[in-house]
Amino acid sequence: MNASLLPLNRAQRRDLLETTSLFGGVPLTRREAMRRCVYGSAGLLLMEPFGIGAQEAAPLGKAKTVIQVWLWGGPSHIDTFDPKPEAGRDFSGALDAPIKTNVDGIQIGQLLPELAKQADKYSLIRSMTHGNNGHETAAYLVQTGRTSERDVFPSLGAVTSYFKGYDAGYKGLIPPYIVLTQPQGRFSEAGFLGPKYKPFATGGDPAASVFEVEGVIAPGISAQRQQERRAFMRGLNTLGGALPGDSTLKSVFQSEEMAYELILGDAGKLFDLSLEADATRERYGRSTFGQSCLMARRLAEKGVPYVTINYQGWDTHKQHFQTMNRKLPELDQGLAALISDLSERGLLDSTIVWCLGEFGRTPKVQTESPWNGGRHHYGKVFSALLAGGGFKGGQVVGSSNATAEEVKDRPVYPADVIGSIYQQLGIPAESKLPHPLGTLTYVVPGKEEKVPMGGLLKEIM
């Protein structure tokens, strides 16, 4: 499905030139396609020698899909992947009895028993850090790896869409970058890459009886009525009749054709979760999150390069433990089912799953009023889960101190994780991004950007 990232042969090049963009913007012009071919995306014909990248270069991976499980609001690291029972109840609160996993020596939070059975399939990073406690800035840092104050960089998803999407020969109607179900909207996910690389947000609720993917599935309108209306609408295009050669109207027409292929074609079936066995749906849990995980698996099977699950409700300044008691079992069931199901289907080797939020939460419980047992934002240390796509399982990278308040060893910065994911996706660190002002910019920050980095996650690659 994805074109090789090696220099293109003649046929591939022709394919690329004929590829029009489905989601976002007008079709590529020939010249634009050539430019992409030379500087960016598919071609990577002109790679330049690159300092850091060259030294650290490991063989490029073959992962095809990334599933980003985004715990929106910032999940508590001490209650999930970095428990510290010895720190006492001032820190652990009621969740002070972590459980063993199926990997010797690794313990995780007590509300994650299903994930405990899958620990051999994922690795944990317990020394994530960026030090920022603002939601929007931290969300930007974690998903772009950049600290720049001057430019707005694209997120990992948009960059993947740029290098693995339509410009790289990705075919098919399903957009290459999908968000289940609501976009974050905190920063423009596409940054300076522009709207063409924004994710397609499904809207709707995959746990509802019909998953109404916005625009694709409209209940109550039969295929026949859709067809009749389409012909009716086309017949009334008087302006189009007066402007037969207009290039703008041509691109509108092309966009419309693609939209109708989604509405009337087989794409709708992909989003029809009722086609899954009941047992499978139960396995993931009937929550919105659980069914989003199931949907993400279906998208991974189709070879969609990037899927983000925006899982809301982790900003627990108040009612923290009540919320954990409710949410962690949901997370546990959905995420464990996703990882094990991908593994059983032989997809885990080519699918990266990473799960984290914009930061962790204060390890010390905030007992005073009005928080009454809440936890605040904590960017100094947090945890991430990373599975599949060539990453080893059953490992722990880095550690925090006894109270999970400081990084003890091996600080891991967002740029390290992102760079490692690019590596596994086969996107070389020295691949260029098309900066709007022409500044030479690589997918992984160069030294001159002064972005803190601790190095690629070689331990688990």
Partner: protein, 525 residues
């Protein structure tokens, strides 16, 4: 079309040999002659002269219905109401177009819409990466709104921005200096160059930027006891690099450094806003032209440089002269452009070349801006959106009757506005606003529950009763497309009603949906 008029037109201009399309066109362009030429006449004269030199022909002048819709969408970012359409299309007054322009320039929506445009250029946004903060974004927006509404002379508008001092919550205009990702003297200088000279400082030699940065090297920021309040003030000690001593005007003229301790921003403003400073007036007149005409005389309108010359220098000079001699009267500038036949040309081209577009031989198709489109959908279906911004605290909730063009804060959460290319307001570049069409946009308008819900709730549908197809169609066309249906269209609609044997209500639903999905609806034409 009478042969006489055609011959008359052909003898006056290069000759338009196109047959008129009565839905979209009214008459060939005719050059007015005589002793009392208006500024609008002079615009047409210069445009035609240039077209003649290039051996290009102008399009015909657009029909009243097209003019009405274009004027509403371009001047107030708002769809005309059914009654407004009927009144205008039955008017026999010879100067009805001029009168409509005058009326529109007085509307409240004029201030809403142009405040939105300035919000893009001046980066009014609470959140990342500009981080003005909600209270300050509101204050900044209020200040712009009051200025636009009162038609503040443009040089005064710019002067107040440039020399602003005070609290971000209380003096809205100080946020000009806060709404920048890079608050270093060079960063501020680059923003000033982009905003008021229309030049991109990244294409300047470093020396020139350093020289301009000197004027902005003594701006300081400090917090107060109030959460997120910030004071912008003049502080001679803020200039750590000694840039102020090297300040030179962008035209290379040295600065008469005033008595010690004076804020150099005022000195720069004085230089910038002199009537004889061509860099100032060419930037704003070209921007306004570009906003109304869909293409700059210099294009992109914020990329003035020697290698990117104006397509019609005499035209730009005329606008500048008019602007300066009316003491930077923005509405006058609007008026002379809107009253020109050039603005009123049809979108049906006499020839389809890039040169024709760059020289204004016809009116280009432009997709409605995101905010204008959602407001138009809401207006014709009598539905509302609910806007809010959950980050940062304090949360912002917007009353439901507030239209999208009137939103103060560019970071209000809305997936519709995102989808249709609302600019992120990160840089102030005009190109940040995306007006392309994507398949995702088409998908949304064709088949989303959001749009289906609006159509179903639309009074044109719910109140369809047992009306005949012809009666339904007439009202729906006037409301959605601002014109009556043609005979040919009526025939098709009747045939559709017969073949699908739908109820009046279903027919109304299908027709409202079919018309709001027409390029004629989505595109300003």
């Amino acid at each position: 079309m009478t042969a006489r008029l055609f011959i008359l037109a052909a003898s006056l201009i290069a000759g338009s040999a196109l047959a008129l399309d009565p839905v979209f066109e009214s008459s060939p362009m005719q050059l007015r002659t005589g002793a009392t030429l208006t500024a609008s006449d002079k615009i047409d004269e210069l445009v035609l002269k240039r077209l003649h030199e290039l051996n290009l022909k102008p399009a015909n002048v657009c029909s009243d219905a097209v003019f009405l819709r274009r004027a509403y969408l371009c001047v107030i970012g708002t769809l005309p109401e059914e009654e407004e359409v009927r009144e205008f299309l039955t008017s026999k007054e010879p100067d009805r177009r001029t009168k409509l322009i005058d009326e529109l320039l007085q509307r409240d929506e004029f201030a809403d819409y142009w405040t939105m445009k300035w919000g893009d250029i001046l980066r009014v946004k609470a959140e990342f990466p500009i981080k003005l903060w909600p209270n300050a974004a509101q204050a900044y927006h209020r200040w712009i709104y009051a200025s636009v509404r009162g038609n503040k002379p443009f040089h005064q508008f710019v002067h107040e921005l440039l020399v602003a001092n005070g609290s971000n919550f209380r003096e809205g205009e100080v946020n000009f200096y806060r709404a920048m990702q890079d608050r270093s003297p060079r960063g501020m200088a680059a923003t000033v160059a982009l905003t008021f000279l229309g030049e991109r400082a990244d294409k300047w030699p470093k020396k020139k930027l350093d020289a301009l940065a000197g004027f902005f090297s003594q701006i300081a920021f400090k917090n107060t006891a109030e959460w997120k309040e910030e004071i912008v003030y003049f502080d001679p000690d803020a200039d750590k690099e000694g840039l102020s001593k090297q300040a030179i005007f962008p035209d290379g003229k040295p600065v008469q450094i005033p008595r010690g301790g004076e804020d150099l921003r005022g000195v720069f403003a004085e230089w910038l806003l002199r009537p004889e400073n061509p860099w100032f007036s060419r930037n704003i007149t070209n921007r306004v032209w570009s906003w109304l005409m869909g293409h700059g005389i210099v294009h992109e309108p914020d990329d003035h440089r020697a290698e990117n010359p104006p397509s019609n220098p005499a035209l730009l000079e005329l606008l500048q002269r008019e602007f300066v001699t009316t003491r930077c009267d923005m509405k006058h500038l609007f008026r002379i452009i809107l009253n020109s036949q050039t603005f009123q040309l049809s979108s049906i081209p006499a020839q389809e070349t890039n040169e024709a577009i760059a020289n204004f031989a016809h009116y280009p198709l432009r997709r409605m801006e995101a905010e204008v489109l959602i407001d138009a959908l809401n207006q014709l279906t009598r539905t509302e959106e609910s806007y809010s911004s959950p980050i940062p605290e304090p949360f912002t909730f917007v009353p439901e009757d507030v239209r999208a063009i009137a939103l103060a804060d560019g970071s209000i959460t809305s997936s519709f506005l995102e989808l249709y290319g609302r600019p992120p307001r990160d840089t102030g570049f005009e190109s940040e606003r995306n007006r392309n069409t994507s398949a995702a946009q088409r998908l949304h308008l064709l088949n989303s529950s959001h749009v289906h819900g609006k159509v179903k709730a639309c009074p044109l549908v719910t109140e369809a009763g047992n009306a005949s197809p012809a009666i339904l169609a007439e009202r729906i066309y006037i409301t959605v497309l601002s014109r009556p249906p043609t005979e040919k269209e009526l025939t098709k609609i009747t045939a559709y009603a017969d073949s699908t044997s739908t109820s009046s209500r279903e027919l109304a639903e299908d027709l409202v949906w079919a018309l709001m999905n027409q390029p004629e609806f989505i595109y300003i034409h």
